[in-house]
């Protein structure tokens, strides 16, 4: 349970930073082409909310992220399981995936544009690939780290393979798998918004890009704030799903 002190520190620091930026911009201590005041961003957000295009842009990014992350989970979890089930594959691919995870996959975007066309399919594919890798790696790692005694106990109780996976393996591995899902979600969102920014396709990244190229600093930061907002919502929902799964 969060205490009021924690809340005060968190929101107090946030208010301090926002207030400082407001003052710095209002006093013209920084060029407005680089930084704008939070109040002006709020005004821009309100105007765009009223016109309806901000919701449209946010929903486009949410749609892309949901599909990309959904595919990443559907492919990533079984792939991680297979790497654990067949250790030869695990040993063969683990390092390769680790190297890919550390590399800037976003640089491959021209190839995605060629394969999937200049549309949201390319954005979804890019987000999906970026999200799959941490999910596979963490699932594999989590299953490897499960205490063998648990599995032996399961066997002594004559559990079937399915029961062992459902009642022993996945619950024991869940915290690390969850870490992988959170990382996967983060990487999916980063890739999606980065690609939207680079090629001006789709949602909130496009707004930031347009703001950047047309020197509309409020729009640029509205895009950035929108991206942070979406990330917070997704992580919150993932946390909720986790607590529901554990409580059941």
């Amino acid at each position: 349970m969060e205490t009021w002190r924690e809340k005060t520190f968190r929101w107090g620091f946030f208010a301090l930073v926002v207030g400082a930026i407001e003052v710095v911009v209002r006093l013209n201590l920084v060029d407005r082409i680089f930084l704008t005041s939070p109040s002006l961003i709020a005004v821009a957000a309100w105007e765009r909310l009223l016109s309806g295009d901000l919701i449209g842009l946010l929903m486009t990014t949410v749609y892309e992220a949901a599909i990309a992350f959904g595919i990443a989970v559907i492919v990533g979890l079984p792939a991680g399981f297979l790497l654990w089930k067949y250790p030869l594959f695990g040993r063969a691919y683990d390092e390769l995936l680790g190297a890919l995870f550390a590399s800037p996959l976003i640089l491959l975007y021209p190839i995605f544009l060629v394969i999937f066309g200049r549309g949201i399919s390319a954005v979804i594919a890019m987000g999906c690939i970026s999200g799959i890798i941490p999910i596979v790696l963490n699932t594999h790692q989590a299953l490897r780290d499960v205490n063998q005694t648990y599995i032996k106990v399961g066997k002594s109780m004559r559990l079937t393979n399915g029961q062992t996976i459902t009642y022993i393996l996945f619950p024991a591995a869940w915290p690390i798998i969850m870490g992988g899902l959170k990382l996967g979600l983060t990487y999916t969102l980063i890739s999606i918004i980065a690609l939207e920014f680079l090629v001006e396709i789709g949602g909130i990244g496009t707004l930031a890009s347009k703001g950047y190229y047309w020197f509309n600093t409020e729009e640029l930061y509205l895009g950035v704030v929108g991206a942070i907002f979406l990330s917070m919502i997704f992580i919150y929902l993932l946390g909720k799903a986790e607590s529901r799964l554990f409580s059941s």
Partner: protein, 325 residues
Amino acid sequence: MKNGKYRRRLFIYFLTSVMGLLFFTVSDSHGQLQTLKLAIPQKGLFDTTMPTLMADKMGFLKEAGIKPEIFWTSGGAETVRVVTVGSADIGISTGTESLVTAFMKGSPVRIISAQMTGSPELFWIVRADSPYRTIKDLDGKSIGFSRPGSSTHMILQLAVDHYKIKAKLVPVGGVPDSFTAVMTKQVDAGWSSPPSFLDRIDKGEIRIVFKAADLESIKDVTLRVNFVNASFYEKNAKLVKSYLNALKKAIDYMYQNPKETAALFAEINKFPLSVAEAGLKFFPKESVALTPVSRVDFSVDLALKLQMITKAPTEEELKKLIVAE
């Protein structure tokens, strides 16, 4: 004995150091070059790259007391930001509407000269197997330009209005990105600038569907300008003028010596000489003249139309923005 040898060696070391120090001091005082940081968009394009590199090669910059330090940028907003923040002193050949927009939004920039008027060199390509023959056939189709606020964006907007077509305008990036987008059917037509892909046009792999030179209305419009950071200009107006003089000399030299120009153009772009020579024909000398900066009203109108700015600059504001002769 041993001590004397040691002293002698020490003396030789001392003498060498002093002479070395003297040499560097003297050579530096002879040089006295002032570093000028230049933000140049899209390396290899004729008007952005060639005048400065030719001025450097022929020693015109050195004569003017300038040591160039070049930053390559992707153009438009990036060039403006680099100059605004002071990372570069001068920005080269950047879209006039970008400059007007940045200035109206408080960016401390000043236009010091024209760099491209009329932009007769730009053209749009389609795949050879494309059913589209002219820009009018692209009604309802997708057409690529480089970046919002760029001259390709301006020209495309004007062309779409002029030919009364409704096309989807897509920012595709630089020339190589544009070509990839066309060949992989991401867009129906994409922009290019000579000498890029002239050889492919000759081979029949792609076709030109529209040339900016076809637009009569922009023949006297300065679409790309050179600009400077305002506070740098206040302190270094003489240096900026020396740079512009060196550029002018380089442009004159380029058109007096087309073979040498083609060779440098080919070398920078790693093209065969014949392709570079063919590319040069797209750039009449008057299009790259540094003066005058003409028809800025045209860029202002377009920036207003695209809602890049909400109000047109006043006469006073334009006088402040454009310090070019």
